[in-house]
Each structure stands twice: as structure tokens, then as C-alpha cells.
């Protein structure tokens, strides 16, 4: 079992690599080779008996993808991409990497004619307001960002290339990943993680929106579970609609804070300071709130059952079980 991962140096990519190294198996077969690609060199694990190759470079550079798929991996995880804010700020870069890079990978696989399982991380950014209370699987994508547009276009390619038999693709639309480890960033969605991560680490966090804001989350651990499930699922059971909205935990910010208080106590929850930010609030208003994700659930994709589990996963995976 040879596996190629693009975007292997990113947060989800690193966690996927660690999980594969730990499991040693995928689709019931022993993992013998891992090809890790990113724009900067991914950190390689050193599992016994696995041949790990590190690749760096621009996805959309001519010939880059043909070289990368030449060893004919059995499974490809395509995680690479420019993030939402950057794709909005830099029009050319976003389309070049997120659309042309994805198409270059898909075409390299098509031309090499070996039809692997290909798992692609899409995003709920393919959806744009206004929304019904619960967004069904049949709801149309009408993205309000270039990033969402690039993901939508890549999803369409993935479905058509799968229909034609060039590969066996599964696109998974990730909800907001929470609690993101690491330092605070400037993403408009950053506070969803910040209001949990910072207080648990003994620091103050800013809450820029009202507590009534409803949003859907899944942990980094669930994101990796989704990827593994997407690699292992029976493609015939998925049928021609290859892009699936992942399940998650839909909670208000107020409910996030109540869960934090239940788990870490009132003193920790008091480290959240409410300071409204009209700019962030305006962006967040356009985001989807709650998904049905019926097909994904029926196909065996599972997220946490409640936000307490999401916080406990963070404490276990990132804080060695300790709260500051």
C-alpha cells in the first residue's frame, strides 16, 4: 500500500501522517510507502518498514504532478491548498493553486491511467448565505468567496473524473475544525478555537461575536477520521454523487462556553472577554450554521456527539490531558 499526501505539512496533513504511521495499515493492507508533498518540506515520521519520500514544490508547476504520481500510489489524499483569506486576497495565486493545481493532479492521474482512490478535502465554504435552518445534502453550492468557488469547481471535476473511471474520488466537505492547535491566527473563524484553546492554556481570549452565533464544528481528530473513512469506503455505495458534507457538532458560541465551564471550571471560562468586532460579525453572518449531513452519516462518517467531546479531544491530543 503506497500513499501520496499533498499538503502533508499542514495541520490536518501532519495529523494524518501521524495516524497512518501509527496504524501501519489502510484498507486492510500494510502501508509500505508514503509520499509526502507540500510547498515546504513536511516533517517525516520514521515508522519501521515504511519508505517515506519527501517532495516539495508548487502543485501547478508543469510536470510536477506527473512526477509525483509516477510511483502509482494506491491512495491519494489531496489536502494541499491556499487558505480562504489568502485566496481572497491573492486572486491569481488562489486559482493557480486551488483550481489549476488540483486539475494538474487529477490530469496526471488520468494520463497515468492507474485509477487510485483519491480523497479530496473540500469545505463548507462551497455554501453561501442565505440558508435554510438545516442545510440538506441536496442544497446548492453558491460560494461567496474565491476559495469556495475553487473548491466547488474541484468537486465538479472530481465527480466527472470519477464517473469516467480516471480515479475513484471522494470529496469531503470539512466543517470548521475546532479546536485548532497552535497560535491564534487572523482568520475570521479563529475565535471559535481561540475561546477554548487560549483559556485552557491559561490565556485570555477575545470573543468578537454574540453568544447566539450557531456554527458546526469537528475536531482535528474527526477530520483525520473522515479522511481514513473516505479512503476505505466502498465507492459503489457512494454512487455518482461523490462530494459529501461531513457531519459535525452544531452549537452556539454560548454552548461552547458552557461546555468549557463544565470541563475546566468557571475560572477558565472567565478568561473569555467579549469584545464585539463588527467586521468579523459581518463575515460570520454569511456562514452556514447547521448541516443535515445525512448521506455522510449513513456512509459511516462520524464526528463528536457534543462539544464536550471536542474539548476533551483537544485536552487529550494537544495538552497531554492537562489544563493550565
Amino acid at each position: 500500500m503506497r500513499i501520496l499526501i499533498t499538503g502533508a505539512a499542514g495541520m490536518v496533513g501532519r495529523k494524518l501522517v501521524a495516524r497512518l504511521a501509527k496504524d501501519g495499515m489502510l484498507r486492510g493492507q500494510k502501508i509500505t510507502a508514503l509520499d509526502l508533498h507540500d510547498i515546504v518540506a513536511p516533517q517525516a515520521p520514521a515508522p519501521a518498514g515504511v519508505d517515506v519520500s519527501i517532495h516539495t514544490g508548487d502543485l501547478s508547476a508543469p510536470g510536477a504532478m506527473a512526477a509525483l504520481v509516477a510511483p502509482r500510489p494506491d491512495v491519494i489524499f489531496h489536502l494541499a491548498g491556499i487558505v480562504s483569506g489568502e485566496a481572497e486576497a491573492n486572486f491569481d495565486l488562489g486559482y493557480r493553486v486551488n483550481l489549476d493545481g488540483t486539475r494538474a493532479l487529477f490530469d496526471a492521474v488520468r494520463l497515468a491511467a492507474f485509477a487510485p482512490r483519491l480523497v479530496f478535502t473540500s469545505s463548507i465554504a462551497v455554501f453561501g448565505a442565505p440558508f435554510p435552518d438545516v442545510i440538506p445534502d441536496e442544497f446548492h453550492p453558491t460560494p461567496l468567496t474565491s476559495y469556495g468557488t475553487q473548491k466547488q469547481m474541484s468537486e465538479a471535476l472530481l465527480a466527472d473524473y470519477t464517473r469516467r473511471g480516471f480515479f475513484d474520488g471522494i470529496g469531503i466537505r470539512l466543517p470548521t475544525i475546532c479546536v485548532r492547535p497552535g497560535k491564534p491566527n487572523k482568520a475570521a473563524s479563529g475565535f471559535f478555537s481561540g475561546i477554548i484553546r487560549e483559556p485552557l492554556a491559561g490565556q485570555e481570549a477575545i470573543l468578537p461575536v454574540p453568544r447566539s452565533v450557531l456554527h458546526t464544528h469537528a475536531s482535528p481528530r474527526s477530520a483525520v477520521n473522515f479522511l481514513i473513512r473516505a479512503a476505505e469506503i466502498d465507492g459503489d455505495k457512494v454512487g455518482p454523487r461523490r462530494n459529501l458534507t461531513m457531519p459535525g457538532v452544531a452549537v452556539t458560541v454560548g454552548e461552547q462556553i458552557e461546555a468549557l465551564e463544565r470541563i475546566a471550571g468557571a475560572d477558565v471560562a472567565r478568561r473569555i472577554r467579549e469584545q464585539s468586532d463588527e467586521t468579523i460579525w459581518a463575515i460570520v453572518k454569511g456562514w452556514p450554521t447547521r448541516f443535515e449531513a445525512r448521506r455522510a452519516r449513513e456512509l459511516g462518517f462520524a464526528a463528536e456527539k457534543n462539544f464536550d467531546e471536542i474539548i476533551l479531544a483537544h485536552i487529550e491530543d494537544e495538552l497531554d490531558g492537562k489544563i493550565a
Copy 2:
């Protein structure tokens, strides 16, 4: 008012050119120049006072689109494309013309920075079975052909480029155009027109599917009306969801034949011979049946009210009012 039309030599393109030449006006302004583009030279009308330029070539050829938009047309009608069957048979050609050609046009407009109204003909081929009884505007596109995929991807680009202000785009998803003038062709949908056109011309027509098949139609005259409406509509009223499913007449094949009999008599309707074709029937089963098209109707797009009107439009526009 300068107007650019791609695909000007096609059936709808020719009718649009004739209509614009007759009206002499668009968006309340006098038409002074028409740029007509196609892979073969479009037939030019000779209206007084209009500067008509003929352009031929491949949409996706480097520099072709920049030259075409250099005169900064006020309105662009982008009708050009490889048809469904050909895009399915020739993978590279379909993506090159329908996706790369469209993107080349959009990017040429973006880089020239003059923000015209841009009308794009998409198709109900963006949808793929299974469907609800009536397909609402919010239903997700899941095309089952490469043609539908290319249209879906172009729609996504159009919405994003409009959101960014590169142009003011409107995508219109055309239903099946019926009655198509001209000779029978090998398209799986050909019989929908053939069972009306051939009997009215004194010839036999084959019906390859059951009379219970339900489908949505609009006349070539309505297709041109949609294009004009899309050119003239207030973009602010459309909002960010720029791709609209056009209205049409949803009828069964049996109802088509009853309408023919009402208008042309039982002897004409008897020229239809039922001869089932499992291959065509299998394709037609996957096609959408009935659309709500609520937004388009509210925005002033109007098709015929019933199939009788569609037949009468054909007799008037193509047969000089005469039935054989």
C-alpha cells in the same frame, strides 16, 4: 452599444443576431457595432448603421479572447461551446473549449477591466438524477456528463468573477429547445423536436420512448427572449446567485402529440411512429423533468404557457405559417 456574441453561427446565435438586427436596440441604447465570433464564419445580417465584424477561431487559442474583447463591448453573449454528445465523446476537446475557452474569455474581460454585462448560456445538463418531482432553484447540480460539468464549473466562475466586479454576469440554464429547426440529428433528445417538426413537414418521425416521458421545453424564440432579458435585467435585483434556471413548458410526450393533433389534425399526428429504443430510453430516464424556476419567473423571464404555443411559434418562425 457594442455587442460581442460568441457561438454566433449556432442555431440560437443566428436567431439572436437576427433579433438584435431587427430591434436595433438593447438596454435602451442603439446598437452601433456587432462582433460575431464562431469557429466557422457566422452569417452577418446587414442592418443599416451597424458595424458588423466577423471573427473566426478557437476560443481557447492564446490571445484570441484578448483581441476579441479589445473593443470593450458593452454586452457579451457567450453562447459558444461543444455540444453535449461531442464533449462526452472527446474529453480533451470538451474541457478545452467549454471550460478553458470560457475561462479565457472571462479572464480577458477581467484583465481588460471594463466590466461589461456578460450573458452565458448554461444548461439544465448541470443537473443529474435522481430528482424530486419538481426541481427547486436551490437543488444541487450533480451533472452526469462532462458537458454538464463544464457548464457547472463555468457557472461557478461567472458568479465569482461577478462578485469580484470583473464583469456583471448572468448565467441562464436553458431547458431543451423545442422545436429545433433543421434536419434530424443523432442527439438523444432529438425526438422531442422530431415528433413535431417532421410531421408538420409531411414526413414520418420516430418516437423511441414511452408517451409518459415528462420533459421541459422552450422554443428557440423563448431562448432568444431569455438572452435579451438576461442582457437587460437589473443586476442588483439578481443578487449574488447569478445562475438562473429558465422557465419552460413541462409536458409528457403524449401531451406534445395531443397538441400537435389539436393544431395540425389527426392525419399529421399519425405520421409519428412508435418504435422503442432502449438506449435512448435509458439516457432519457436520467434527465430532469420539471423545474420550479421561481426566481427566473420573478425576474421577468417568460417562456410559452403551453405546448400549443411552442408548436405555433415553430409554424410561424420556420414554416411561414404553412403545414405540409
